[in-house]
């Protein structure tokens, strides 16, 4: 499971020896995040985001459990119970703002984590399972955040629930019954709010379980690294502790600074004022938009405004939106290049940045009303998004000529740090 040169766990204290025989949790920790886990020596700060995502999940679970002590999932009182948290509960405003902004921070770090994987080819063999489990976590996070956003029962909560459960009504024949089954009624109402609260409480713990699988799968081949070259021997690695506990600790400090700055100075920046108006089932807010982290997918949904072939616009939009995420499950097999890191992939690297720009463009379009030029821009953006994965990537990975690669991580690192050998990799 680890490299042969991993430092073995040797408990010295009698208590630790006793523990090791009965329930070897200290051994597990030592071999997973301690000196017993060798990690490539050259990880950069983009390798912080996994740990940060874990920290964000813990923040959500802790603040969430506290909120649940004061929140009431009933349409008659839900909105007021959130106001009660904000005004009356001791430090309630802090806990709620931390939970609200914690969700945004969670998505920021997860998006960076995902794009790190795309840039350095971490989704490729032997880490396909790590990637697949990551996509599962991403889907669960989206479901969790959506249901959480419904809980305050403001205008955006209500209409978000209406529109998102509306996706399911696009399914031919059984669509409407499925939607009513999800809502427990014809419109979002008390039954909906109650089940969403129950599931919003449950799903983070399911996510926790999948994260354990994700890390388990990761620890079999070990981490990828900025060169994308697999570890060959001991000099390519350093022990996780103290090297990466320190590096992750520093990253965690920066993350917390950004998080508290957002929470204290601009707690509503990423939210919508309309959600401070109680839900009204007879009037839709003039401009409904989802939370920022859903915007690119929302733009893809909105890009379909006309019936096409034998499928109507509504179903197209919904299929395309789900497909844009489901596509990620196939990524390890769409990219056939054996070279992982973009550092050595001159062509892929360009298309990677175009994809980043495209996703940002889609996010921007997702925010705009359903008018020109946004509709046409969403359509172009959506076409490009699919083209990237289904056309460009398979072709690029076949025709691209990778740059010369160093023989090992250590060679790459030394070439980078010895001035006279600066041209090392190219010469090799």
């Amino acid at each position: 499971m680890s490299f042969p040169w991993a430092k073995p766990y040797e408990p010295k204290h009698p208590l630790m020896k006793w523990m090791d025989e009965k329930l070897p949790i200290p051994r597990l920790v030592y071999n997973a995040t301690g000196p017993g886990y060798p990690v490539p020596r050259n990880l950069n700060y983009f390798w912080n985001f996994g740990v940060l995502a874990g920290a964000a999940l813990m923040i959500q679970i802790i603040t969430g459990i506290v909120l649940a002590m004061h929140y009431a999932a009933n349409t008659g009182v839900a909105f007021n119970s959130v106001e009660h948290i904000m005004r009356d509960v001791n430090a309630g405003w802090f806990i709620r703002y931390a939970h609200m902004n914690g969700a945004s921070m969670f998505f920021i770090v997860v998006y960076l984590h995902i794009f790190r994987g795309l840039y350095y080819g971490s989704y490729k063999a032997p880490r396909e399972m790590v990637w697949l489990l990551g996509v599962v976590i991403f889907l669960l996070m989206m479901a969790t955040a959506f249901m959480g956003y419904v809980l305050p029962w403001g205008q955006m909560s209500f209409w978000g629930a209406q529109v998102i459960t509306g996706f399911f009504s696009a399914i031919p024949l059984v669509g409407e019954p499925v939607r009513q089954w999800l809502l427990g009624g014809f419109v979002p109402d008390n039954a909906t709010l109650n089940r969403f609260f129950s599931l919003h409480y449950l799903l983070p713990f399911v996510i926790l379980g999948v994260i354990i699988l994700h890390i388990w799968a990761l620890h079999i081949p070990g981490s990828n690294n900025p060169t994308g070259i697999e570890v060959k021997d001991e000099q390519d690695t350093v022990p996780f502790h103290p090297y990466y506990t320190a590096k992750d600790g520093f990253g965690l400090g920066v993350f917390l600074l950004v998080f508290v700055a957002l929470t204290f100075f601009s707690p509503n920046m990423l939210g919508h004022a309309d959600n401070y108006i109680p839900a009204n089932s007879l009037s839709t807010p003039a401009h409904i938009v989802p939370e920022w982290y859903f915007l690119p997918f929302y733009a893809i949904l909105k890009a379909f405004t006309f019936n096409f072939l034998w499928i109507d616009a509504k179903l197209w939009g919904v299929i395309a939106m789900f497909a844009s995420i489901a596509l990620l499950f196939f990524l390890p097999w769409l990219d056939s290049s054996p070279v992982k890191s973009s550092t050595y992939r001159p062509l892929y690297r360009i298309f990677f940045w175009v994809l980043v720009a495209d996703v940002l463009l889609l996010g921007w379009c997702g925010m705009q009303p359903a008018e020109q030029p946004w509709v046409i821009l969403s359509q172009l953006g959506a076409i490009y998004y699919f083209a990237h994965f289904l056309v460009i990537l398979p072709i690029v990975s076949r025709i691209e000529r990778p740059l010369p690669m160093p023989n090992s991580i250590t060679e790459a690192v030394l070439a980078k740090h010895a001035p006279d050998a600066a041209s090392g990799p190219a010469a090799a």
Partner: protein, 185 residues
């Protein structure tokens, strides 16, 4: 090899008694699991109180030609619109082949009351409340309703004409209980 025949004692036609017991036990457990899952799935469906089909009475006497009101039935918004001659004529002038969800205005109103257009105010795309019922709201490119969520335009018979919605605004079941009162549901 000798023990093989001993192991297979009791075989008839290549089937061991143990195979039969295994299949029977697993199938029985499967039936039991399905029997338990069904109520667990079904509990999510609308409960009896939600289903209890309520009716709503609406007094339409105050709605002037060209005006509309918004009320609610089963917690869903309902539009009641008093069409003017021009709007009815416009709706009739459209060839059915131009429509995504072909229906005439007569099919969408009651005989002799074709100026009363009563529909749910629920966009058939993803369920927002379209604009156009209240004074001064955007009625869209076809003079009926406009859903700002993703840009669906409905005409003066509340039929979908442009945008992502697949079908016309739904006409709920209703009756004229008198000339000025409508019962929905």
């Amino acid at each position: 090899m000798a023990s093989e025949s001993e192991l297979n004692a009791g075989i008839e036609d290549g089937v061991r008694r143990r195979d039969f017991i295994n299949i029977a036990a697993v199938s029985f457990a499967g039936v039991g699991a399905v029997a338990v899952v069904l109520p667990l799935v079904n509990q999510m469906n609308p409960s009896a109180d939600v289903l209890a089909l309520s009716t709503t009475e609406i007094d339409i006497s105050a709605i002037q030609p060209g005006q509309a009101i918004k009320t609610s039935w089963r917690k869903q918004p309902v539009f009641v619109r008093n069409l003017v001659e021009k709007e009815i004529a416009e709706a009739k002038a459209v060839p059915l082949s131009d429509l995504r969800d072909p229906q005439t205005i007569d099919e969408r109103t009651k005989p002799g009351k074709e100026n009363w257009l009563i529909t749910l105010g629920v966009c058939t795309h993803l369920g927002c409340v379209p604009l156009g019922a209240a004074e001064g709201e955007n009625k869209g490119d076809f003079g009926g309703y406009f859903c700002p969520c993703h840009g669906s335009h409905y005409d003066t018979a509340a039929r979908i004409r442009k945008g992502p919605a697949p079908t016309n605004l739904v006409v709920p079941p209703y009756e004229f209980t008198s000339d000025t009162v409508v019962t929905i549901g």
